[in-house]
Symmetry: C2
DNA sequence: ATAATTAAAGATATTTTTATCCTTAATTAA
DNA sequence: TTAATTAAGGATAAAAATATCTTTAATTAT
């Protein structure tokens, strides 16, 4: 559904929401291993995420790393999608027409019209923190286990 | 949501379902203009679609072109997605984990679990012919109008 | 048979996405 | 102040997606 970059970004920020705070930062090494993403590529994505204030912060040097503060954890999952330029994945026309609207509907529009709001709600209605909590409570995972448990 | 290739494929097959039959074939020129896709690239996609029997047929030479027969029009939109290798776009884990299942759910799984069946139904429950009919009846479009009407 | 038309097939080209590596800058600890 | 650590930034590289062009094969009309 989303690009690898966005998948990594989502996994990374959820991991940080669960495991970091301003007093406990996570290094790139731990982070990329935890979410099962290529280290250097993840570095690039983190640079993008830290560009946007309010989402992910970082500090260089010993003891440094990436972290989320309390406020950033309240941001919606959708805000991550926006930052990664993936709103269109949900909002654009399924057949690729210039705009998805009731004005010039494609043949799939009337059906997609019913699903799109649910997809938006799925991401807009969930905060990063909520996902992190589910991770803790419901035994969900962020990495790619080779064998199912 | 889908790749350009898949978007073109869907638009093409819907156009053919509406405008072609074994006695009235559509040339690449008309087809690519009608759906607003790059001509040569569309040719490649059509080759893929004609490889699968039952979906799109073609004939070379004067009067030749692409067409759909009555049976192929009854196929589901999902069958096109399968042919284009896009089932995973819907079925795979939103966070990119190896598998999307209740076994090793990611933090978004419980929410996506409610939407995924609707997305599948959206494509499995619609035949190509149904979309072509909507195109005719409900004034839907397949190209990219520069100005909304 | 020959010429014209059309898709199939193959070769390339371009762009975007994904990924790695190397150098620099910031921070901390000794 | 020096050395160590860590992310930032820049330069490439590799792979995949998108796109174009040229040649070939099939079919039809003359
Ligand atoms: S116009 Fe195509 S999905 Fe809305
Ligand atoms: S496991 Fe992630 S969406 Fe199902």
């Amino acid at each position: 559904m989303f690009s690898k970059s966005t998948e990594y970004a989502l996994r990374a920020i959820i991991y940080l929401a669960q495991n970091s705070d301003p007093d406990h930062k996570i290094g790139l090494e731990e982070l990329s291993k935890a979410i099962g993403s290529p280290r250097s590529f993840t570095a690039k994505i983190m640079q993008k995420l830290t560009k946007d204030q309010n989402l992910v912060s970082s500090v260089t040097g010993p003891g440094g790393g990436f972290y989320t503060n309390q406020e950033s954890k309240t941001r919606s999952v959708f805000s991550v999608l926006e930052l990664m330029g993936e709103e269109t994945t949900i909002t654009q026309c399924v057949l690729g027409l210039d705009q998805c609207s009731d004005q010039n509907p494609c043949p799939l529009h009337s059906t997609y019209k019913q699903i799109k709001p649910r997809l938006l709600e799925m991401f807009q209605g969930k905060s990063i923190q909520q996902l992190a909590k589910e991770l803790k409570n419901e035994k969900t995972v962020l990495n790619r286990p080779r064998k199912a448990s």
